[in-house]
């Protein structure tokens, strides 16, 4: 997985590409969670993401929970059809802020 972070004032954007699986998830978690210390808006761009495993879902869930606890928001953009299916199947569509 490749991860690009751009910070602009109180808004941070993560662009993810490749597979967000058990190998990539800890790395993603290590940068996503601290991002809420500096930004009130953490945007995820999943345009180039091809796969999300349950470990990846766990990081997204942790991110969403962190956002909620800190009064921040974590909108998710450019969700492809494949990823959307996973989100639907696991019920994540209901709890994530997919825009």
């Amino acid at each position: 997985m490749e991860l690009t972070k751009t910070q602009c004032g109180g808004k941070a954007t993560f662009a993810l590409s490749g597979r967000l699986d058990a190998t990539a998830a800890p790395e993603f978690q290590a940068v996503l969670i601290p991002a809420f210390d500096e930004a009130s808006l953490v945007e995820l761009d999943l345009a180039a993401l091809t796969y999300v495993s349950s470990a990846g879902l766990r990081v997204l869930l942790l991110g969403e929970k962190t956002a909620k606890s800190k009064g921040a928001a974590m909108p998710i953009r450019n969700v492809s059809q494949e990823i959307k299916e996973i989100f639907d199947m696991t019920g994540f569509s209901d709890i994530l802020n997919i825009v």
Binding site: A22, S54, A55, R58, L61, M89, T90, G91, I95
Partner: protein, 726 residues
Amino acid sequence: MKKKRIERKILSVAVGISVVSLAAFCAVAFRGLYSVRAHVLQSSAKLGESAAANSGRVLEQEAVGRLLDRAQGHSRFINERLTGIAKDAVYFAGHVTEIYKSAGKLAPVYIPYASSENNGKLVMWMASANGAADYPRIRGEAGLLGNVKPAFVSNADDMEALTRSLYLATESGFIISYDRFSDDRNRIFDPRARRWYRESADICRAYGDSCGTGWTDPYNDASSEGKLLVTCSHPFKGADGSFKGMVGIDLFIEDLNTVVNVDSGKYGHAVVVNRKATVIASSDMKRRPDGVFEAKSAYVEGNAEYNSVIDRMTGGESGSARVGIDGKEMYMAYACIPVTGWSVALMRPVSEVMGPVTENSAAIESMTKRSLGAVNNAIMSVLIAFVVGFALVVAAVIYLARMLSAKISRPIVTLEGGLARIAGGELDTRIALKTGDEIEQLGDSVNAMARELKKYISNLQRVTADKERISAELGVATKIQESMLPRVFPPFPGRPEFDIYASMEPAKEVGGDFYDFFFVEDNTLAVIVADVSGKGVPAALFMVVAKTLIKNNAQCGWKCAGSPKEVFEKVNGILCDGNDTGMFVTAFMGYLDTGTGKFRYVNAGHTPPILITGGKCAAVKVKPGFVLAGLEDTRYTEGELTMRPGDGLFLYTDGITEAVNGQNALFGQTRLAEAVNVYNNLPLKEFTSAIKREIDKFAGGAEQADDITMLALRYTSTAPSDGKAA
């Protein structure tokens, strides 16, 4: 072996370098020597040639100069003698004229006629044209002229040396002579008939005073015994100044020959010629067979070169030339004899002159040979010195290189031995080298390496022990996990109305997937497939919690939790409480009424199972709720379907659909549905094995990324369950 190889390498490099440099040095030296040799050869040859040329020129100049000097000496000498004779002739002629002038005062002196009794004696005698018959006619004049006797006799000394005969001859036809030829036969003699007299007298008669001293060509006469002679003549006059006769002095050419012959041995051939190119004297003048010397022409027929020199001689010139005579090269020097206009020439063979040059050339050549021999010897001795030096140097190099290589290779061998012991496991081995160079450093490094190796190995042993312990513990955990899942099939031998088979294959030692089935009530069979996020020990621990919670809540029956929906909502609430790690579980649970085939189910974010009914596959649809342990107060929706006898349900985790091959392609639900269709008729155990084989085939050796869990349920009939339920 190794020691020898290093030694040999050092040795061959050292020997190679020294041999190559020596060879190069030798080549350069020999090149130099040979160029010196060539130079010696060349310069010797040049020296020989130029020395020969120079010395030849010098010798030639010297020889010709000397020859010319000698010829001029001869010419002066002969000229002096002849001048003396000519002066005598003039003197006697003057004396005779004086006698004529003193005719009245002088007493007559009567000279006897020639007589044989005086033959051979030096005496005065006379003769006349007609012998004694003339005497009365000439008596007066003869008596007067007899007064020359004292003068003639005073000349006796010369008569012994050069002059043969001294005489006077008169126009009146008598002769008074002083010599040794007094003979009866000579009484009758007319001088006027003689050529020497005639030629001069004709001039004197015709031109008076202008006639002078004359010299005849060589000739011989009756008394000369074949010897050639010449006559010097001078006219005398009477008291009245008229031509009266001539004084004559004969001399033998042989006397001149004696002069020129002196040199013939030393300077070769000598020759005297007169103006008519007649040979007057010559060192090789010979008598004819009749004993008479022949006056020959000096010219040699066909030898223009020589003849032109003769022409120059008769022309009164002095000089030198190089001519060929009878095929022999000669130097020739010639000088004029002024008094007679004669010329004397000396000839000397060139070979005789150039002899020393040839000798000189030979000497230089032999000297060159000697010096060349010396150079060759020098080259040979240098060669020998080189060979000996070469051998010595190579031997020294071999000896030194052996010592050096032994010095270098000994510590290496020590090092090698130490390394071999370390490699053999003797890590306490230490290499003690005190060479003070890189090899000692290497030894220290090896010692350090051995120390580090020992430390590392002990660390490794500890780590390995730890790992083995963990591995063993993980093995135990796997066993525990396995034992938590129902593994005995068929699990309910007394319940023929359904058939069930399940398997879980973890990606790591312990997995996060689990399945479960148990009876909630007599006719209600619960089947569960769940997947904990993540893998390994954390997932396994979470799985144990989740599984236990679900089973406990479900088995307390309708009293506690009631429907599957209520079980999940309750378990979710418990799991969420204190879930700091953010782990969650996707789970599918269904309750099968074994009597009616009615199947109520709930899905917490799990992959929907496949229903096989009437030989067709269909996803078991229900709106999936959120995962367990995700969010508190999550509400779940229940679905319901009815299984007919023969229908099947296939529950699985996303380890199947998300299995990847080498190209990162997913196995997917389509492939899974096809495989399910194909193998649907097999007994459940073989069915699950076939599905697994398909997955493995698809993955093609790619590592299993996630746990693979399958649960297959087949509903057979309603009949027995009714019986049992009753």
